[in-house]
């Protein structure tokens, strides 16, 4: 994690909803199509990439989100060191995936901001600004979707009952977080 001036500085609490940024969390985008790519990832990380749409998989240290038939996001479940931006997982994948021409690995740690939402009113908030139908999504633990929230591209990971991780691009994060606070105050 580089030393950015963080735009989301405080934890916000409303009735039935808490929101704060979790940082620094390693985030990688990996892309590849071949069967060998999937098995190489599985062997390197001890984590099977989800192949069915809108799902995720989880190991002790990492979570993998399905984004597209040939694109996944991997992020660490625990926060990493704030003093450097070198990650073991990235080095391992660079060695086993990029150097063998199986696919691409991109570090998006500083590109995406991870907003963690907790409480029973998460989906009430999301429904106020998204065209996505959350009816089945909210019941499915591990479900993932890319959609629009207040006209901003987001990735939503239904991590647990009443716990959602929301990824947004850094340049949009301040605006989105202020919109979320505004919207949450009216729930």
């Amino acid at each position: 994690m580089l030393n950015y001036t963080n735009v989301i500085t405080e934890k916000k609490t409303y009735s039935g909803l808490q929101m704060d940024e979790i940082k620094p969390v390693m985030k990688l985008i990996i892309r590849g199509k071949k069967r060998e790519f999937l098995s190489a990832i599985g062997k390197s990380l001890n984590l099977l990439l989800p192949t069915s749409a809108n799902t995720s998989s989880k190991s002790e240290k990492l979570s993998a989100l399905w984004l597209s038939p040939d694109e996944w996001m991997i992020y660490s479940n625990e926060i990493s060191s704030p003093n450097n931006n070198h990650y073991e997982t990235e080095n391992l994948l660079n060695k086993n995936i990029c150097k063998t021409n199986l696919g691409a690995v991109t570090d998006v740690t500083d590109q995406f901001v991870l907003i963690n939402m907790r409480g029973d009113k998460i989906f009430d908030l999301l429904e106020t600004g998204s065209p996505f139908n959350f009816n089945n999504f909210r019941e499915k633990k591990g479900a993932v979707t890319q959609t629009i929230l207040a006209k901003i591209d987001v990735i939503i990971h239904n991590q647990n009952q009443n716990e959602v991780n929301l990824f947004v691009r850094r340049s949009f994060s301040q605006h989105l977080f202020s919109w979320m606070n505004d919207s949450a105050s009216r729930l």
Partner: protein
């Protein structure tokens, strides 16, 4: 507003997508040998019919994949959704 069944992600709202114009227009193999009229025909002229039209769409705010759609332009009813590279179905 209408729903589009993305072949990769499932049913989503139209605002997540972007239209890419008429589908199945083949680029001429030797553009330098065409007359200006033929080139203009390829480049600009589109059918724009009232009825079933084959179109390209991209799920731009989702999986970012292109696919084809057969849409009735008079009432926005989508008849078929099929992947890129597949032949247009007969409707």
């Amino acid at each position: 507003m209408f729903l589009i069944d993305c072949p990769y992600c499932g049913e989503r709202e139209q605002s997540e997508f972007k239209a890419g114009g008429e589908a199945h227009i083949v680029r001429p193999k030797q553009p330098t040998e065409l007359s200006d009229d033929e080139w203009a025909e390829y480049l600009f002229m589109r059918k724009n019919i009232k009825g079933i039209q084959f179109e390209r769409w991209i799920h731009i705010h989702g999986c970012r994949k292109w696919f084809n759609v057969a849409r009735d332009t008079s009432n926005d009813v989508i008849k078929v959704v099929y992947k890129m590279g597949e032949k247009p179905p007969t409707i």
